[in-house]
């Protein structure tokens, strides 16, 4: 299963750095695959992906699928933005609780049809920028 991909005709305003370890995540995201690390010892997922399990400190981790759906725990719309994001402002960001039990924070893609509301169902999407991908959430369709 892959995430919906939305094309964005601009480079990312503040691109993430990529390490040999996180390259797996960003490359997968670029192909619409939504993954993170799972600990082989305690079986827990963590996000963002980490080479050391934050729960049991095992270094034996493997890549695993994340749930593409969740609920919006909270959100805001940022009007006063840092210089590199000023052309995008105002923009919405939020905290998503994925159905598989991971909480994360990301950009939100707004739609006029469904206004943002706490606890609304959301789905993850890939923002396919000119220079690479970012992950985001939007109202579930």
């Amino acid at each position: 299963m892959t995430l919906p991909v939305l094309n964005v005709d601009a480079a990312r305003s503040y691109p993430p750095r990529i390490s040999e370890f996180t390259k797996t995540f960003w490359d997968a995201l670029g192909q619409g695959r939504w993954i993170t690390t799972r600990c082989k010892c305690c079986d827990r997922q963590t996000f963002p992906p980490k080479p050391v399990c934050p729960h049991c400190w095992s270094t034996e981790v493997e890549w695993s699928e994340l749930s593409p759906c969740g609920t919006l725990y909270s959100w805001t719309r940022i009007h006063a933005a840092p210089a590199v994001f000023s052309s995008e402002a105002p923009y919405a960001v939020g905290i998503v609780d994925l159905d598989s039990g991971i909480r994360l924070a990301c950009r939100l893609v707004e739609s006029e049809a469904i206004p943002l509301q706490v606890n609304m169902p959301v789905e993850m999407v890939v923002l396919h920028h000119r220079d690479g991908p970012l992950f985001a959430a939007r109202a579930a369709t």
Partner: protein, 397 residues
């Protein structure tokens, strides 16, 4: 007898615009402000230069040209010490750490008199430029900053969640800003002193929804110096002092957000840190007479007032709206004007909070005096209250 720590002297410049632009013909120099403040605070304390054996500075902003500011100032003052001289840093908790570390030096016996001091200059740098740095402090620089999160965006999400869970209104949150502006109108150190109405607060442009301009902290410069001493020294001076009765710290093991879903607006770290501090002080939150909270936004004051037991859970915004937290109310909070109106020179903000408690508990707060105040509580934090530092202070006449 166990050593105890007292605050015996204070000084500060009014929070506001002090930093000069790079091309200004006449520049404001940080060390000139700071040396005057040290002399003023030490005079207020009534101790001698030679009594000072430790100095804990807050880290200056990167915009301060003089590097190694702390040891530079030792040279400006020809101050020789055998305790400790250092700069500390902990994001928003920086000044709380400076205070706490100065306490430690006295408790360890390294010093009988110690200074907690610092200067924060940033107002000549635009908000958009400053945020290029501050956006890298809260969250994961690769996984969060890339989405455009800013420090106060996290508090805004606290507000959105709080309004959803407890049915609090925009007006109830705004009441915190109105109340704090009233307090600031009575504080000569405050940055914004002109009273505002609830209609003014609600009408401001949005900054991070649902928070508008008056719900979020202004940017400003500040500098302050606190003189701490062993209780023995404080007693020998024969005038009122403020005793540090309890301390507590807690880091919740997350940075900005927990990937294991939790109750984000419970602010568990400050609940735990305050429990530790109350226990050490041997009192409960019902005995607190006033509070100076590290609360950059209106919502944060509400959540902290609940987490440290001053107001029941879910009732903080209503309590502010009903005047319970106003001067003259049941439990006055942010009598200085708080971060939203007294001002928020971030790395020294907590020094101003301790200074306000020291003024109040020594009966020197003038028109904003909380009559008969005996116990005060101060909080410091970093992140979205992922870590918290709490101090309980007591008036000693």
């Amino acid at each position: 007898m166990t050593r105890r720590v007292a605050i015996i002297g204070t000084s500060a410049i009014p929070v506001g615009r002090h930093q000069t632009a790079d091309d200004a013909a006449l520049q404001t120099l940080e060390h000139e402000i700071m040396t005057r403040l040290v002399v003023e605070a030490v005079r207020d304390a009534g101790v001698d230069k030679k009594d000072i054996q430790s100095l804990v500075f807050t880290l200056p902003r990167p915009y301060t040209r003089q590097k190694y500011f702390h040891t530079f100032l030792m040279g400006q003052l020809r101050l020789a010490c055998r305790g400790n001289v250092m700069e500390v840093m902990g994001n928003g908790m920086t000044a709380a750490l400076a205070f706490d570390q100065a306490c430690n030096d006295i408790l360890l016996g390294r010093a009988n008199v110690a200074l907690a001091l610092g200067i924060n200059m940033e107002s000549a740098v635009s908000a958009a430029e400053h945020m290029m740095s501050s956006m890298r402090t809260t969250g994961d620089v690769d996984f969060h900053t890339s989405a455009g999160f800013t420090p106060i965006a996290w508090y805004a999400m606290d507000a959105m969640r709080y309004m959803h869970e407890h049915g609090a209104t925009r007006e109830q949150l705004g009441a915190v800003a109105v109340k704090n502006r009233h307090h600031a109108s009575l504080n000569p150190l405050a940055q914004f002193r002109k009273p505002v109405t609830l209609a003014d607060v609600v009408a401001q442009r949005p900054i991070v929804e649902p928070l508008g301009l008056y719900d979020v902290p202004p940017r400003g410069d500040g500098a302050a110096c606190l003189v701490l001493a062993s209780e023995e020294v404080a007693k020998s001076l024969g005038r009122p002092y403020v005793l540090v009765r309890g301390r507590g710290f807690c880091h919740d093991g997350s940075h900005q957000i927990s990937d294991v879903p939790n109750d984000m607006i419970a602010f568990d770290s400050v609940r735990q840190a305050s429990a530790t501090a109350y226990e050490e002080a041997g009192i409960g939150p019902d005995q607190i007479d006033l509070a100076e909270l590290y609360a950059p936004c209106t919502i944060v004051e509400v959540l902290v007032s609940e987490a440290i037991g001053l107001v029941p859970r879910g009732q903080g915004a209503r309590a502010a709206f009903d005047g319970e937290t106003r001067l003259g109310g049941r439990i006055p909070i942010s009598t200085s004007g708080g971060l939203t109106s007294r001002g928020h020179p971030a790395y020294v903000t907590s020094l101003y909070n301790y200074l306000e408690l020291a003024e109040q508990l020594r009966g020197r707060a003038g028109d904003r005096q909380v009559q008969g105040a005996r116990f005060g509580v101060a909080t410091g934090e970093l992140g979205n209250y992922n870590a918290a530092m709490v101090h309980v202070l007591e008036a000693m006449q």
